[in-house]
Every structure is written in C-alpha cells, then in structure tokens.
C-alpha cells in the first residue's frame, strides 16, 4: 500500500504534517500499511465486513423495505491519539461533565444560574427537552448525566473543539468496541507492539455506574437495559451492552409498576427492577406523565423514579444540557460552577437572540454554519459556504421567524484522515466521540468512536448520511 499520491491539501491531516512527513505517533501503522499488498489489504477488509454482517453488527435504515439492515462502513486505517493529547482531552471532558451535572441540578432546583443573570430564564424554559415537571425532584447521588457522548472535532490548527454534548442517550459505543475487535483480528501480530490502550472495560464501568445509582441500602440491585425494541436502529447496541454487562434487556411492555415500584413480567411472576439504563426518549418513558400515546413506556415509571424506588440513567430532562443554544453557554457554565476556564473550547458560536447577533448572522449566512437547536443526526444544518442561494434564503426566513431555535457558528475545516477510497488512500474529514461515564467518579475509556465522512469533501459523518467509522487508538506513550 502506497501513500505516494496522497495529498493533505490545505487541511490538518492526522497522519501527515503539511510537508508530508509522517507524524511520530503514526509511524508504526504507516510502516505496517506500507508493507501490505493491495490484495492483502482487500482480504482484510472483506473479512472484517463479512464478520460484521455475520454477527449482525448492523444498523437499521428506516424507510427502506428490502435492505433494512446495513453494516456501518468501517475503514481499516485507525485513528491514533498520542498520550499527551489524550490527557488534555480527558481532563477537558471530565471538567465538562461535572459542570453540566451541577448545571442540571441547579436548574431543576434553585436556578441560581438564572437568578445570577448568567443565563436568561427564557432560554431554559424554551428548551425543548427541559422538563419543568422535574423541578424539585432529587435524583440518586445528584447525578443527571451518567453517560455522555461528547462530539469533538479538530480545526485547521489541530486544536480539539467541542461540537456538541450528547447528554440524553448517546449511541455508538458498541461500534467503538466492535471496531477494536475487528482491527485486532485484521492485524493480530501488529497489535502487540503498537502500544494501544484497551477500551474493553467500558461495560464493566457502565455496570458500576448503574449499580451506584440503585436505590439506597440495596445489595445486588437488579439492572436492566430498557430498549424501544428490535425495530430501533440502535437495537444491536442495546443488546450488546446488556450482554456485556450480563443484565436483562427489556421493553416497556415487559415492565409493570405496582405501588410505585417497577417489576418485570417473567415466566415465574413479577420480579423487581432497581435500575434501568434506558434508551427510550423522555417523551415516551411514561404515558401517564409524557406522551399519552406512547406504547414504549411504562405507566407509573416516572412516579416510581420520583419516589426514589428506581435508578434511571440518564435522568429525565438532561436534554436541556445538550440543547444547541445552551451549548453556547457551556463555557460560562463551567466558569460559574467551577470557577475554571474551559479546558476544551467550544466552536465559536453566536446566538441570534443576543446583542446585534441576528443582524450579523443574517448578513453573513454564506460564511457561517447555521444549526437548528433541536435537530440531531446531521439534519437541520446549513453549511453557508457550500449552500445554494435557495437554501440560504430558506434558513434566513426560518432564523428570522424563530431566532431562539437557531445558532450560528464559524465553519471549521475539520481535520482529515487517510481513508481507503476505491483507488487508494485519500483524506476524509473525521470527528471523534469519546464516551464519558459518571458514577462514583468520572471515567473515560481511552478511545471512542471516530466517524468519517466517506463522501469526498463532505463534512457530514452521520451513519444515516454516508458516514463510516474507524477504530481509535489511544497510545500509552506519544509515539
């Protein structure tokens, strides 16, 4: 495999410096790939794809009758993070999750941050995922976000920036683990000498977090993963995590609430459940409290939670912390609760509702990225420099109509990574989602999910829109 015709163009390339030298932490893998023939590379690729398919490591594509299950495209070239960089990232993530949890506790109790004038009340109240029903409710150990998937990107200087915090139920961690397995099988001998830190403990740590939030004085709590069901696109992951932890996977219809206590229906009668790792949205959790038409939830579950008879991860109403407008306040949130400067910066962000920003944004639509506050999965985004006049006009109208619901950001030219593309290696834009767990303490698995936009020039890494993934190596050292 040759990198002779590889071009970094003007982007920050993860593997190569601007002058074409290989960065120190990529030298090993560069050498290994260079000695590989194209044929061997293809064989490895095919073997990996086939094993994903056989194991059913697939996601569901909605609205597609025939091929409802697809494998998540996987690129064999790993993304590598040297130790020093990782230390910086993990400190920044720890700071962030602690601050966000303090923020949630505050806004669901005293709301000091509003009273002190840091965040105007209407931003909280108008956040789509704010749950006023939960004000004054104490949650186990005061933890709201137990599992967080924070999306990081790197700019043209290689600086890590936070793109968004996924504080509801971030998915993709099973791909992080399976990608590692796949790469270990593809390069069995190479792995021993590469000095890669293991990420295998994730499920153990997750289990500990869930045990930590069990109702008081409980020995050996019963834990279960609550899934929307087999038709949900992340179903594989729900099963995967349940298996790894050795706990049951349940659907809403498997559960009943009696006297404010949750039970599962078994062939030998009802069995109490103490903690749920739920992958069902707030809205669907309990038809008595939220959406009345929900059949995925459990009537009475919320009351059981309020009474302290159930641990729930993540807690209810955490979505207010990953609201794209609240995101703009996170540096101020960190400063307010921790009196520290953020270790990881945000992407420069303007709120249309602050100062003269609206005017500025409307005038510079073609130079900015505009995002709808409550969309996810890469939808509801305008990338100004690449957008047509028509799209810009549409967004302009939408922003004017509902400025609370939009943010504007400086476009970041995402870092690129050598990725196999039909005829050879080419640079493709990537992002990075590490997974942060918050139980007795904060733990962050060395690694995460690196997503890659496989389409040339594309910045959208989401699997639903032509994204793939890579294994992510965090090294013990810096080379």
């Amino acid at each position: 495999m040759k990198f002779d015709s590889y071009k970094t163009d003007s982007f920050y390339d993860e593997m190569f410096e601007a002058d074409g030298t290989v960065r120190p932490h990529y030298r090993n893998i560069y050498a290994r790939l260079s000695e590989l023939s194209t044929e061997e590379f293809f064989q490895k690729r095919e073997a990996v794809d086939l094993s994903f398919l056989r194991q059913g490591i697939t996601f569901t594509v909605y609205g597609d009758e025939e091929g409802t299950e697809k494998i998540f495209p996987f690129d064999l070239v790993p993304r590598i993070i040297p130790n020093t960089e990782w230390q910086h990232i993990s400190k920044g993530l720890e700071q962030r999750i602690i601050a966000l949890n303090l923020f949630l506790k505050d806004i669901y109790h005293e709301q000091k941050i509003i009273k002190d004038g840091i965040i105007p009340a209407h931003f909280i109240e108008s956040a789509k995922h704010y749950r006023p029903e939960f004000r004054g409710v104490n949650v186990p150990k005061d933890i709201y976000i137990h599992i967080c998937g924070t999306d990081l990107i790197r700019n043209d200087q290689g600086e890590y920036l936070v793109l968004e915090d996924n504080a509801r139920s971030p998915s993709g961690v099973s791909y992080m683990l399976e990608n590692r397995e796949a790469l270990k099988r593809a390069f069995p001998n190479f792995f021993q000498q590469a000095g890669v830190r293991t990420n295998l403990d994730y499920s153990k740590h997750l289990l500990k977090v869930l045990q930590h939030i069990a109702p008081e004085n409980h020995n050996g709590p019963v834990i279960a993963v609550l899934t929307p069901g087999v038709y949900n696109s992340a179903y594989f992951e729900h099963c995967f995590l349940a298996r790894q932890m050795g706990v049951d996977i349940v659907e809403g219809r498997d559960l009943v609430v009696r006297h404010d206590k949750v039970y599962m229906r078994t062939t030998r009668g009802l069995k109490p459940v103490d903690v749920l790792y739920r992958r069902v949205d707030d809205d669907f959790l309990d038809p008595k409290v939220f959406r009345k038409d929900s059949v995925l939830g459990v009537p009475g579950l919320v009351e059981a939670y309020r009474k302290g008879n159930l641990g729930l991860a993540n807690s209810i109403g955490t979505g207010v912390a990953d609201d794209k407008v609240i995101y703009a306040f996170v540096p101020r949130i960190i400063k307010y609760y921790l009196d520290q400067d953020p270790i990881l910066s945000n992407v420069e962000t303007w709120l249309p509702t602050e100062g003269n920003n609206l005017e500025f944004i409307l005038e510079n639509m073609n130079k900015l990225v505009i995002k709808a506050a409550n969309e996810s999965g890469g939808y509801g985004i305008l990338i100004g420099p690449h957008a047509s006049k028509k799209e810009i006009a549409q967004f302009k109208e939408a922003v004017q109509k509902d400025p609370r619901n939009y943010i504007a950001q400086t476009p970041i030219s995402l870092s690129r990574h050598p990725t196999w593309c039909d005829k050879g290696f080419e640079g493709r834009h990537i992002d990075f989602r590490p997974y942060i767990l918050y139980g007795e303490k904060v733990s962050i698995m060395p690694g995460g999910l690196t997503r890659v936009a496989l389409k040339k020039g594309s910045l959208v890494v989401n699997s639903s829109q032509g994204g793939g993934s890579k294994d992510t190596w965090v090294l013990y050292g810096d080379t």
Binding site: L53, R54, Q55, G56, T60, Y62, G149, N166, R168, S169, P170, S171, V225, P228, G229, V230, Y231, N232, S233, A234, Y235, F236, C239, F240, A242, R243, D248, I249, V250, E251, G252, R253, D254, M264, R265, T266, T267, R268, R279, V280, D281, F284, S294, V295, L296, S376, G377
Partner: protein, 333 residues
C-alpha cells in the same frame, strides 16, 4: 425469564423446526419424482397439489404462479416471501425472534441462524434448480442440526432451554402428523389404494424418508414397506425421535420442567392436554387407529397441538403487541 423472551425462544425454535420439516418434505418428493414415470403436466400437478395443500395454501400458490410444476412448487415452498410457511419465511421469522433476544442466546446460536438466513436470501433460485436442489436442502438440514447441537452445548439448560425444546418437539409432533396427512391427501388425489402399486410404495418410502426413518424402519420391521407398519412407527413409536408419541412425550417433559410439576398430574391446561394426548396414543394400537380412521386421529392430534401452543402462551408468554413505528422514532444520536 421475561415472558417475551420465553415467547421468542419458543417461536425461534418452532420456526427452525418448521423450516427443516418443509425441507425434508420437499427434498424427498423431488427425489421420488425422479423415480416415477409420470412426466405429463397434469400428473406432475396432481403430485404436488396435496403437498402444497398440506404445508401451505393452494389458493395463495395460484395467486402467485401460473403453473404448478416441480420448479414452481419448489420456489413457492422454499423461497417465496409471499408464503409464510416457505423455508425462507420460516428462517426469517426465526431470525426475527432470535434478534429480539440476542442478549439471551449465545453468539454461536445467533450466528448460525443469521448465516442460514443470509445464505437463503442470497441464494440463486435458478442455479439451485438447475443443479438439483438436494445439496442445498441438505445444507439447510445441517444448519438445523448444528443449531440444535450448539444450543445444547452453549445455552444454559434452564427454563429457556425447556422453552426451546418445547417449541421444537411441539412443532415436530405437528409436522410428522402433517407428512402423514399429505400422504392421505395423495391417496385421495390418485384414488390408487392398491398397496402393491409401485408409486404408492414409493410414496410410503418418501414419508419414511421425510422423517429420516427409512433405515430404522427396515431394522425394526425387516419387511416390505407396509402402510400399517409405517403408521404404527411414525405415530406410536416410543423410541423414534420424530414419531408423534415420542415428540409429545418430550414436549411433556419440557413443559413440566418449566412448571416443576410432576407428570403424574398437571398444573395448567397445556400440561393436561399434552398428558391426555400421550395417554391416548400410548394406549392405542395401530388397529384401533385404523378403526377410528387415520384422518380423524391426525386431525385430532393437530387440533390438540394447536391448543397446547395457545395454552402455553396463556400460561407463560402473554404480553401486549406494540407498534414498530414508535420504536423507530426514538432519537439515535
């Protein structure tokens, strides 16, 4: 164990057994056809008619195919996604059930079902038909055997195992009955009751083969293929693993293991019906079956088995059905 999990284990296992039975029936009949001199369109049609009637739905077949011949029969019974009893449909349903309980079954069990499904889905129908489907069918049977072996050696032998086995034996008892029923229908179709007629004998051989029983039959009876013996063997044998009585007895063993109730009495309706069926068969002679009429007995067995399945569901597996659309709407970020 969750009620929903019990249901999925039970049906996963039933569907695999159902697919295997469909394959057995098809394979032997395709082979029988090779050994007969019936080549005219109408005689081939009347050969397949009872088989399709017994396993699937003749009306459904006519809606989807212009002509009934060996190739279309094979296609309908093997690959058609319009036919809920086709081999492909059965494996698809088995896989759907397995997928719902991926966390409960072993990795190996899942991979066997998933691979079988992917192979079937990718299969080139024309090519298989041209090269003769025997090897293809053999492979499917091997997968089914592999699944049972792997289940036995990788899955906890607790309640879940009993639900799997109950599903398998319940389906097997039903399908052995169905194979005999198909032969009854053939007789009606041909109106050739002469037991020395070579085709009639060939059909009885096919019935035995469909149950993998030809060789054992020879060992036990050491005589020509006589309908009475075949029926005695396939309905009343206490030792042959595909006979109806054997399967019902195993079914009883496993459903009583679930309830921990001794087989001397019963704790639910499914156990009562199963015990009654076993007593009925145990104390019947083949002559009595003939007096009663085989047709009547087979219908009775089929109805009883259907009821047992319903009662098992009522006792252990009942849970509400929900709308898949809401499952999809959940954000996956």
């Amino acid at each position: 164990m969750l009620c929903r999990v019990a249901d999925s284990l039970f049906w996963m296992s039933r569907y695999i057994e159902r697919a295997e039975s469909a394959v057995r029936l098809l394979d032997v009949n395709l082979q029988i056809l090779l050994e007969t001199d019936r080549t005219s369109t109408s005689s081939i049609e009347s050969f397949w008619k009872p088989i399709i009637a017994s396993t699937g739905d003749l009306g459904l077949f006519k809606e989807n195919y212009d002509e009934l011949n060996s190739e279309t029969a094979m296609d309908f019974l093997t690959f058609s996604d319009k036919n809920p009893s086709s081999v492909l449909s059965c494996i698809k349903f088995a896989r759907e059930n397995a997928r719902m309980i991926r966390d409960q079954i072993s990795e190996d069990m899942w991979e066997i079902i998933n691979r079988l499904y992917l192979n079937l889905k990718r299969a080139d129908h024309k090519k298989i038909w041209k090269s003769g489907p025997h090897d293809f069918y053999k492979e499917i049977r091997e997968y089914s055997n592999l699944f049972q072996g792997v289940t036995d050696s990788t899955f906890l032998h607790g309640d879940g195992f009993d639900f799997i086995k109950a599903g398998m034996f319940l389906e097997r008892a039903d399908k052995t009955g169905q194979i005999l029923k198909a032969k009854q229908l053939m007789d009606a179709e041909w109106a050739e009751k002469d037991e020395t007629n070579p085709l009639a004998i060939a059909q009885w051989v096919s019935v035995l083969r469909a149950c993998s029983a030809e060789e054992v039959y020879q060992q036990i009876y050491v005589t020509d293929i006589i309908p009475k013996n075949v029926i005695e063997f396939l309905v009343l044998s206490r030792e042959f693993p595909r006979s109806i009585l054997f399967s019902a007895t195993k079914l009883q063993f496993h459903i009583h293991a679930i309830s921990d109730c001794p087989t001397t009495h019963y704790s639910n309706e499914a156990e009562r019906l199963c015990g009654k069926l076993i007593a009925d068969l145990t104390y019947s002679s083949v002559n009595e079956i003939f007096e009663r009429g085989l047709d009547d007995l087979l219908d009775h067995i089929h109805r009883t088995i259907t009821k047992i399945a319903i009662e098992l569901n009522n006792a252990y597996m009942f849970f509400p059905i929900i709308d898949p659309a809401q499952e999809q709407k959940q954000t996956t970020i």
